[in-house]
């Protein structure tokens, strides 16, 4: 799953533009999927599939901008490259404010598009790696027993073993054992790293 080849999703209501994009990207060896509408894309979209989205701003039905907002709501991380007609610059600016990776005015130089796709794919790889890392941490933390979790909470607050023992009503020796299990299960090399992992988990919603 890690090394899946990226897919370039192309969403444009214009069949001519859509197919020409597919042909162009294929000629440089990129895998594509084309969709004629935002809804069609949403129906086929697999969040786990790495890639990026090349999206027409202006489409009947759900516009490119609306699709972008929908994806933001879903917590999707797929980078979006907007392609726009001449009159659509204000829309493109709005799209950028909502986190679009890039935009291009039609017609464009093929190299410009390919460069932007490359950049978007790198960005996608980075965010997926970060998310995968978080998933790993979450799995480790999930494997803790309730008592170990209590110890973890106290550890991240910097409590000493003696204090923990008193708070939990157990011996200091027992605390030490739990502590060692926490470090082992989470794979944290130090208390500082453990605290960072716990903070990362808290700040990130569980989405892909």
């Amino acid at each position: 799953m890690q090394e899946q080849a990226p897919t370039i999703y192309i969403v444009d209501d214009d069949e001519g533009v859509r197919n020409s994009l597919r042909f162009l990207l294929k000629s440089v060896g990129l895998a594509t999927r084309v969709h004629a509408s935002a809804n069609e894309f949403l129906g086929a979209y697999k969040p786990k599939q790495p890639g990026c989205l090349v999206l027409d701003v202006r489409m009947p039905g759900m516009s490119g901008l609306e699709l972008q907002q929908q994806l933001n709501l879903l917590g999707a991380i797929i980078p979006v490259i907007f392609i726009t007609g001449h009159g659509d610059i204000p829309m493109a600016v709005e799209a950028m404010q909502h986190g679009a990776a890039d935009f291009l005015q039609k017609p464009f130089r093929d190299q410009d598009l390919i460069d932007r796709i490359q950049r978007a794919l790198e960005r996608d790889t980075r965010s997926r790696a970060a998310l995968a890392q978080l998933d790993r941490i979450r799995a480790c933390f999930d494997s803790l027993t309730p008592r170990e979790r209590e110890v973890l909470a106290l550890m991240t607050r910097g409590k000493l073993n003696k204090v923990m023992a008193a708070e939990l009503g157990v011996s200091q020796r027992t605390v030490e054992i739990h502590r060692a299990r926490v470090m082992e299960k989470t794979g944290a090399a130090s208390l500082a790293q453990l605290v960072r992992m716990a903070m990362d988990l808290e700040s990130e919603p569980a989405t892909l």
Partner: protein, 274 residues
């Protein structure tokens, strides 16, 4: 108030006179426009959206052009590699032909549309042409809170014109005036449409406002295509009006309206009275 040659009432208002009450609409007999007139109005409003249409056509044309560029660029990439597959190249070339045909179709449709609007010139009364679109104009002026007055001269000679095109010029003038007036406090804004005969025996149709008038550096350029001082202006309004005037053997022009304001006028050669 006075009655013009057709017995219709209108306000007799100079730009410095008292504000007219409620524009000219109140006194006019209200009647349903006959079918022919209705068609004319539709055509006028269709022409009024010529800017929007141009934007739409630009977008339409841009699509096949984008596709063609994509295919052509893909072909050069494929050709740059040894052992390019001729079948693949042939497919792209066929697509290019298809998209070029599509672009040509769009142009053909546009031409057909223009042909539909090709002028048919008949003897007409400029006053009657103005009255035909008065509802349209008033809905605009009312929206801007600007009282509209009419001063339509009695006994004007007829002109041989495409009425829709002349009405288009009036609408351009009026819209420009309203946009110029929008910049100043309402309540003081005045707008007047006046018809008269010039010393050269042309029929003059003037749209007069008491807005800021033209800045000196705009004077020589307002009739140029794409000259606009507005953020969202196409600068085509007066250029199209100029073309229409010339096509009719007439002219458009500007003179200031002292102490402040603009007067844009259209001159049309008059039909020698039989």
């Amino acid at each position: 108030m006075k009655a013009d040659s057709n017995g219709q009432l209108h306000h007799d208002v100079g730009m410095s006179a008292e504000p007219p009450h409620g524009g000219s609409g109140g006194d006019r007999e209200k009647q349903q426009p006959p079918a022919a007139l209705h068609g004319r109005l539709l055509q006028v409003s269709r022409m009024a959206t010529i800017g929007e249409m141009a934007a739409g056509v630009a977008h339409e044309l841009n699509q096949p052009l984008t596709a063609i560029a994509n295919y052509a660029q893909a072909c050069s990439r494929l050709l740059a590699r040894p052992g390019a597959d001729p079948a693949e190249l042939r497919q792209a070339l066929a697509e290019i032909t298809g998209q070029a045909t599509r672009a040509a179709d769009i142009v053909r449709r546009l031409r057909a549309l223009a042909r539909n609007q090709q002028s048919e010139r008949v003897p007409a009364s400029v006053n009657a042409l103005v009255r035909e679109i008065i509802d349209l104009l008033e809905s605009d002026t009312r929206l801007h809170g600007v009282p509209l007055s009419l001063e339509l001269a009695d006994g004007l000679p007829l002109v041989v014109v495409d009425g829709g095109q002349i009405q288009h010029v009036v609408m351009n003038f009026v819209r420009n005036s309203l946009e110029a007036l929008a910049a100043q406090p309402s309540g003081e804004s005045r707008l007047l449409i006046r018809t008269s005969v010039t010393t050269q025996h042309d029929v003059e149709l003037a749209v007069i406002d008491n807005g800021p008038g033209l800045a000196p550096d705009a004077l020589g350029h307002v009739f140029d295509p794409f000259f606009s001082t507005k953020e969202s202006g196409t600068g085509m309004g007066l250029a199209i009006s100029n073309t229409i005037a010339r096509l009719h053997g007439g002219s458009v022009g500007y003179r200031p309206n002292p102490p402040t304001g603009a007067c844009f006028y259209l001159h049309l050669p008059s039909q020698p009275t039989p």
